[in-house]
């Protein structure tokens, strides 16, 4: 697996506990629309991403992230 694919898989695994509806995950799955997460769920989830990858995702960055693919890109960028 490429680095990005590995990151994608880890992100997928971290989404699962919050994926109450069992939505199929892809690059373009949206957090607010498809997963129907409210702001508090997003907040908890982002904290688990930050802890897992040992990175910081500012609220300013978070505001720009709408899809799983964009999140994976942001994680890749922060790890670099």
């Amino acid at each position: 697996m490429t680095d990005r694919a590995t990151t994608f898989a880890s992100v997928e695994a971290l989404i699962e506990p919050f994926n109450a509806k069992g939505v199929e995950l892809g690059e373009s799955t949206t957090f607010a629309g498809d997963l129907e997460w409210d702001s508090l769920t997003v907040m908890d989830f982002v904290a688990s991403i930050e802890d897992e990858f040992d990175i910081v995702i500012t609220m300013n960055q978070q505001a720009e992230i709408e899809t799983v693919g964009q999140l994976v890109d942001a994680v890749e960028e922060s790890k670099a």
């Binding site: 409210d38 702001s39 508090l40 769920t41 907040m43 908890d44 982002v46 904290a47 930050e50 802890d51 040992d54 990175i55 910081v56 500012t58 609220m59 300013n60």
Partner: protein, 418 residues
């Protein structure tokens, strides 16, 4: 067909179809309608018809014990406080009709700032029109573009809104988790300006922050530290200065934010600091500058109350007794509380969902007890609670009465076993 013709054939009477601005609230409106359709009272629409004392009011014609105010030290009806307010009202009028930096600073505002400096033993004090505005102003003004605000995930709305008003990068750490705070700080550019924002008491669960651990961590990374002591002023520490005083780290805190709407018993907000440039903030802090100052009667009541709170050791001791007794009593009845020990004057009774919480809340109200119902997003995700906040003026008998009402309401609604 050119554009002009197409526009021309649209009948003039047809209204343009813009999106309904209320559409975004549709799910919340639905949820609320569903809840009220079950026949419960609206927990966010209570009216106090009469207020008899810091601990008693009349709601819907019924005498009710208040266990959901922020009136921790019971100063709202203090005779000296009321006399000071009346005198200022008559001497200086009903309002200032002006900003603090123009015509809205009277000697009373200065006297109030002097009282705050004496209370905290600090060099500078700025009085705002509310605590909300104090956070909004100080957080947004201190941290600018390229700086970082590092805040607890469970921070009060006014702190979050201060972040949104400013241009800094916002970083959150897990609630009350010192290790997580350090982890985040370690990832930030060492040279960037940093403001770490903490609260003494978190108002939803009534838990206190480990400031004695967190403040030194923030200092290690060169951050400035702001502590919001809204729910701890008057009650914590030898002089009532708050949790930072009680835990021995007040001298390392750069800015204390507080409010007059809780222990002080009126309305208003403030920032105190030893930083030599604090007063300059008056000129650049928009929520300080672009709003009217507090009325003379309000600052006079605040001044008197603050000065009395300096010597309120007995009241503090009684408030602790109340908090301990109620915590133990509720646990003995079988309720689940947010904290294992009573950490502050706020005790949060956890309930499994919104409907159970509202039913219990209503049953208590019908028995003559008012508590706050709280739900997300004010509380963390999935947490529904009844927030009980004690007052130094609750008598020991009232606390027993309160426990009796909890027992009856809990059994009637099935929140505790029969």
């Amino acid at each position: 067909m050119n554009v002009t013709t197409e526009q021309a054939i649209v009948p003039e009477t047809e209204e343009p179809q813009a999106a309904d601005l209320f559409d975004k609230f549709a799910p919340l409106i639905q949820e609320r309608d569903n809840l009220l359709a079950t026949g419960v009272r609206d927990p966010f629409a209570i009216v106090m018809d009469e207020v008899k004392s810091p601990t008693e009011a009349v709601i819907d014609g019924k005498d009710t014990i208040l266990l959901g105010t922020y009136n921790y030290m019971g100063m709202t009806f203090d005779p000296d406080v009321i006399a000071a307010g009346k005198e200022a009202l008559e001497k200086f009028g009903a309002g200032t009709t002006g900003s603090r930096v123009l015509n809205g600073t009277y000697q009373g505002h200065k006297a109030c700032e002097e009282a705050l400096k004496d209370f905290y033993g600090m060099d500078h004090a700025m009085v705002f029109s509310t605590g909300y505005q104090a956070n909004l102003g100080i957080v947004s003004t201190l941290a600018g573009k390229g700086d970082y605000v590092i805040l607890d995930a469970d921070s009060h709305a006014s702190i979050y809104d201060g972040c949104f008003l400013g241009n800094a990068d916002i970083v959150r750490f897990r609630h009350n988790n010192a290790e997580n705070l350090e982890k985040r700080l370690a990832k930030l550019p060492p040279g960037a300006g940093k403001l770490v924002v903490l609260e003494g008491v978190y108002s939803m669960l009534g838990d206190i922050a480990p400031l004695d651990v967190m403040v030194p961590i923030a200092k290690k990374y060169g951050a400035m530290i702001l502590v919001d002591e809204a729910h701890s002023m008057g009650f914590f520490g030898e002089h009532g200065r708050g949790v930072a005083e009680a835990q021995g780290v007040l001298d390392q805190v750069d800015f204390i934010i507080g409010t007059f709407s809780k222990s002080v018993g009126t309305v208003g907000g403030f920032c105190v600091s030893n930083h030599p440039k604090t007063d300059f903030l008056r000129l650049v802090c928009r929520p300080y500058t672009f709003t009217a100052s507090l009325p003379p009667s309000v600052v006079a009541t605040a001044t008197t109350s603050i000065r009395k709170l300096m010597h309120a050791g007995n009241k503090r001791a009684h408030l602790w007794e109340n908090s301990k007794r109620l915590h133990q009593g509720l646990r003995d009845l079988g309720f689940t509380l947010a904290t294992d020990e009573p950490e502050s004057a706020i005790l949060a009774v956890l309930l499994p969902d919104q409907e159970k919480a509202v039913r219990m809340w209503q049953a208590l109200l019908e028995l003559g007890l008012y508590v706050n119902m709280a739900r997300p997003p004010a509380t963390p995700a999935g947490v529904y609670l009844l927030r009980c906040s004690l007052c130094a003026e609750h008598s020991a008998e009232q606390v027993e009465q309160i426990l009796g009402m909890f027992e009856a309401a809990g059994k009637a609604t099935g929140s505790i076993p029969q």
